[in-house]
């Protein structure tokens, strides 16, 4: 299993809060990977919300290739944080030359593009960089998106934080997602490490996706360039989220109806029966079949947690107005937000999606048997 934590806060938080919570939950992961996603950034990135930020790991040669490539496309560096870690990494952590987070200015000719076109180009550029990196093994690209930083590495969360000096980095964010990974079926590959990210949508998952192959085949046949990768069976959850919201234009309340639809008896009683029956039929290939707990983040910085039909994975949501935490275990939640009304903690069950909107006022519990929100 893996352990997950996501925080959303009005005040910027240090990623260390999430990494410490992961450490509290260390019985549930084995140090085979840590993933960290920061959004709604503070600090030096606060004033460059629209600038695309590239996050990745580079060798010296890779960095030079990156510079040349980005210059050729016309991207200029606006700001960067690069970490050259000590020569001897902690046990289990590979030796790397540079961890890089770099904000760019768009090329001039990109400035008047529509957002759809812009997002599509950013995606294509990230895929191209990933491809270049895989070709020579000198770059690992995690994300290339405005207001978004992503770091992934193999190792124990706290040891890595120390190794990379995360505490002293000027990294503050209002949305943080982190995963401590238990490597099970697949060889250790950083592209298999959660959270996954595509065009502002991100998810991380606890559990194994037993329907992975048919879902992967289906997504790859959608004709959308970003539906690729799949070093992990959990990457499909991010892409299903993207497909549901971005391609089909449905709401986050409908996501759960796609990945784990109601069974026929419950469906017949649902006020939106006709619509949901159609959705269940046409999105049949996206049914995940679990067991999975999915925690995700939307482009507007809403956070959500959804359990699959089996509800075999732990997940709890707690917090207070202005600060909420989505976590695998209560001990992690206690570590992240000790001063909260614990009686209001909520563990979503097989029908539930918990959503904390961008205003961070409250955790909304959306039961799958409820009527779907009507379009305005």
């Amino acid at each position: 299993m893996c352990r997950l934590i996501a925080l959303t806060s009005e005040e910027p938080l240090s990623p260390m809060i999430a990494l410490r919570a992961l450490d509290v939950m260390r019985e549930g992961h084995d140090g085979s990977g840590v993933g960290l996603l920061l959004r709604d950034l503070a600090g030096p990135f606060e004033n460059m919300k629209n600038a695309p930020i590239l996050s990745g790991i580079f060798s010296e040669k890779g960095l030079k290739r990156l510079d040349r490539f980005m210059m050729d496309v016309g991207f200029m560096t606006k700001y960067r944080i690069s970490v050259k870690p000590p020569k001897t990494p902690p046990p289990g952590v590979p030796r790397r030359d540079v961890y890089l987070v770099r904000a760019y200015e768009y090329p001039e000719e990109w400035e008047n593009l529509s957002s759809v076109e812009l997002y599509s180009r950013l995606l294509i550029l990230r895929l191209e960089l990933q491809r270049m990196g895989e070709e020579k093994g000198d770059m690992i690209i995690f994300s290339f998106w405005p207001d978004t930083i992503m770091i992934k590495e193999i190792g124990e969360p706290l040891e890595l934080a120390e190794h990379l000096n995360v505490d002293r980095m000027d990294l503050g964010a209002r949305v943080i997602m982190a995963q401590g990974r238990q490597n099970t079926n697949y060889e250790i590959n950083l592209y298999a490490c959660h959270p996954f990210f595509i065009q502002g949508f991100s998810t991380m998952t606890n559990g194994e996706n037993t329907a992975f192959i048919p879902i992967r085949e289906y997504l790859m046949s959608r004709g959308f360039q970003g539906y690729t990768g799949y070093q992990s069976d959990s990457e499909v959850f991010t892409h299903i989220l993207h497909y549901t919201l971005s391609q089909l234009g449905l709401s986050i309340e409908t996501y759960k109806h796609v990945i784990t639809p109601l069974q026929d008896e419950d469906l017949k009683k649902h006020p939106d029966y006709q619509f949901l029956k159609q959705l269940k039929h046409s999105c049949r290939k996206l049914i995940i079949d679990g067991p999975n707990c999915v925690i995700g983040c939307l482009p507007d910085h809403s956070l959500f947690m959804a359990q699959d039909r089996k509800k075999l994975r732990p997940g709890v949501v707690g917090g207070r107005e202005g600060l909420f935490c989505f976590c695998s275990e209560i001990c992690g939640l206690d570590s992240a937000i000790p001063d909260r009304d614990k009686s209001r903690d909520f563990q979503p069950m097989h029908f539930d999606t918990v959503i904390v909107g961008p205003d961070r006022k409250e955790a909304e519990i959306c039961c799958q048997t409820q009527q779907l929100p009507r379009p305005h």
């Binding site: 299993m1 238990q182 099970t184 079926n185 559990g207 194994e208 037993t210 329907a211 992975f212 192959i213 048919p214 085949e217 289906y218 046949s221 959608r222 004709g223 497909y243 391609q247 089909l248 234009g249 449905l250 784990t260 639809p261 069974q263 026929d264 006709q274 619509f275 159609q278 959705l279 039929h281 046409s282 999105c283 049949r284 290939k285 049914i287 995940i288 079949d289 679990g290 067991p291 699959d308 039909r309 089996k310 075999l312």
Partner: protein, 544 residues
């Protein structure tokens, strides 16, 4: 036969036949039941001459050489009356005095069953034992990382869809615009394949229909049954049970006059319409109901004169190109039921299946594609067609599924696999393997004849006389003396048994794979096979 008697090329001895009757004189009571029951008159009561020589070494003792006779059972060696191995004689013998035994070498009869220049026709399956499907194992067992599910107590939703499913984008658009969304049926993934009224006896047909009605109405299992090409009894057409029935139309159009005329009187719509273009047991050949079985009842339902053979043409007479005629036929059928009933073609397994499929992907009405592989059964076909024609179903289904994946329509046109599913008794394992290779469901016929009615036919060429209406179990006979042997109520009960046990076994397969929320269509990562060539061909794991 005298040792110096004339022989002909087709003079055979008992040894030359595929089946030898072993008869025990000591146990036999000469009751005559075996000779009465034998469907092909292979045995008759015989008078045997016997010499008893009594000699003694004692001086003066009487010595004798007497001839006596005794009565017993004699096996005929005329090819027209050769034993088919059905063993009904054993079944009826009160003393277990008689049994047919398979010859220890290839028979010589096979060279002689074409008298008058007429090649052998028969029923059953291709006479090849074993099945590739049996070699497929389910290897992706959920262990500690995602616990296996409890097949007995977990909830499962193992349904499949029959009908043209729209892409999510189109579907949402049509929902919003109140557009026409093709009819889709949620059904059980094990379908009773087309066996016509005519090929089957009235008792068998009634039993199947009763079993299906019980499964639906009492057990909530949405099991569907195809009529095969032989029409549908008028009362069923006008009953509420029609919704469990897939009406098949094939190249002979038998019974369709009745069906079309009863449309205004139908209380419910049928489940679907299956257009049969081919059959796995005799690909490229039409249906064949021989005159033996065309009695007045069958003739009335089919709308033909009685007592004549009914060979359907190999192809639909209206068809000269798939692009036009198949599309037209599918559309006409949709139109007949007001676009409320899914219509899909069934073809025999063939290397041209992809061409058919590609055509269907461009036809917005095609509700699926059923492919019947070379191991499919039949009531009557030429032996050569059954044994040598056709395509294995596994690779055909796999190719089609992967092709749909390539064009992104794997959820839109459901594939149904048939032909030898459960051939060696492993129904659930074979069905699950085909589903994970990409089928949305499977059709079975022969298995149900065996399991629900005690069919004796086998791939060792036992019995297989469905074609001449002499089925000793009354399953494929139209002779009331024979089909009265079969009690429809008991067939229905066995159908229910089979489906319930299939359901349990299917759960015992999918639960350890961690699947319960949806049928694992195309979950090929769960499959492995100990055959490198097959693994490569089917794009599944090679495991040793």
């Amino acid at each position: 036969m005298l040792s110096n008697a004339a022989i002909t090329p087709s003079t055979l001895s008992v040894k030359d036949l595929p089946w030898q009757i072993l008869w025990n004189k000591d146990k036999c009571t000469l009751c005559g039941k075996c000779t009465a029951v034998c469907p092909v008159n292979a045995i008759e009561s015989g008078v045997f001459r016997k010499r008893i020589v009594r000699t003694s070494l004692e001086q003066g003792a009487t010595q004798s050489s007497d001839h006596s006779i005794f009565y017993g059972i004699r096996q005929k060696t005329d090819p027209a009356y050769s034993c088919v191995g059905c063993a009904m004689c054993s079944l009826v013998c009160p003393n277990d005095a008689i049994i047919p035994v398979r010859s220890d070498e290839a028979d010589k009869l096979r060279f002689h069953i074409n008298r008058g220049g007429r090649p052998r026709t028969r029923g059953g399956r291709r006479n090849v034992s074993g099945s590739l499907l049996d070699q497929i194992k389910f290897i992706r067992i959920s262990m500690l990382t995602d616990p296996a599910l409890d097949a007995g107590r977990h909830e499962f939703e193992l349904r499949t869809l029959l009908g043209r499913i729209l892409s999510p984008e189109e579907n949402l658009k049509f929902v919003e615009e109140n557009g026409w969304i093709p009819p889709v049926r949620e059904i059980y993934p094990l379908i009773i394949g087309g066996m016509s009224f005519g090929a089957l006896s009235p008792s068998m047909w009634e039993g199947l229909q009763m079993g299906v009605a019980y499964l639906n109405e009492e057990l909530g299992m949405p099991v569907r049954i195809s009529t095969g090409e032989g029409g549908c009894p008028p009362r069923l057409l006008r009953s509420r049970f029609l919704k469990y029935v897939i009406l098949q139309i094939a190249s002979g159009y038998f019974g369709w006059d009745e069906i079309i005329h009863s449309i205004p009187e139908m209380k419910v719509d049928p489940c679907a319409i299956e257009i049969k273009y081919g059959q796995g047991a005799k690909p490229g050949d039409g249906g064949l109901l021989m005159w033996h079985k065309v009695n007045s009842l069958i003739a009335a339902i089919r709308g033909v004169p009685s007592g004549i053979s009914l060979p359907s043409p190999p192809t639909h007479q209206t068809q000269y190109s798939i692009e036009e005629s198949v599309a037209k036929m599918i559309q006409s059928m949709y139109m007949a039921w007001g676009f409320r009933v899914p219509v899909y073609p069934k073809i025999s397994g063939t290397s041209t299946a992809l061409a058919v499929l590609n055509n269907l992907t461009r036809n917005p009405y095609a509700a699926g594609l059923a492919i019947d592989g070379e191991d499919g059964g039949t009531g009557a076909a030429y032996n050569v067609s059954m044994n040598h024609m056709g395509h294995p179903v596994a690779s055909n289904i796999r190719d089609c599924y992967l092709n749909l994946v390539k064009v992104g329509m794997q959820n839109e046109i459901p594939l149904f696999a048939a032909g030898g599913v459960g051939k060696t008794g492993n129904l659930a394992a074979n069905a699950a393997a085909l589903i994970m290779l990409g089928a949305s469901g499977v059709q079975v016929g022969k298995y149900l004849m065996e399991a629900a009615a005690g069919c004796l036919g086998s791939e060792s060429d036992r019995c297989n006389i469905c074609n001449i209406g002499l089925c000793p179990k009354g399953i494929t006979s139209q002779d009331p003396r024979l089909y009265r042997r079969l009690d429809p109520e008991q067939v229905a009960q066995r159908i229910v048994d089979v489906f319930i046990s299939f359901d349990i076994e299917l759960k015992k397969i999918v639960a350890p794979l961690g699947r319960s929320t949806s049928l694992p269509i195309g979950m090929s990562d769960a499959l492995g096979i100990n055959d490198k060539g097959a693994a490569e061909r089917l794009n599944i794991k090679y495991v040793v």
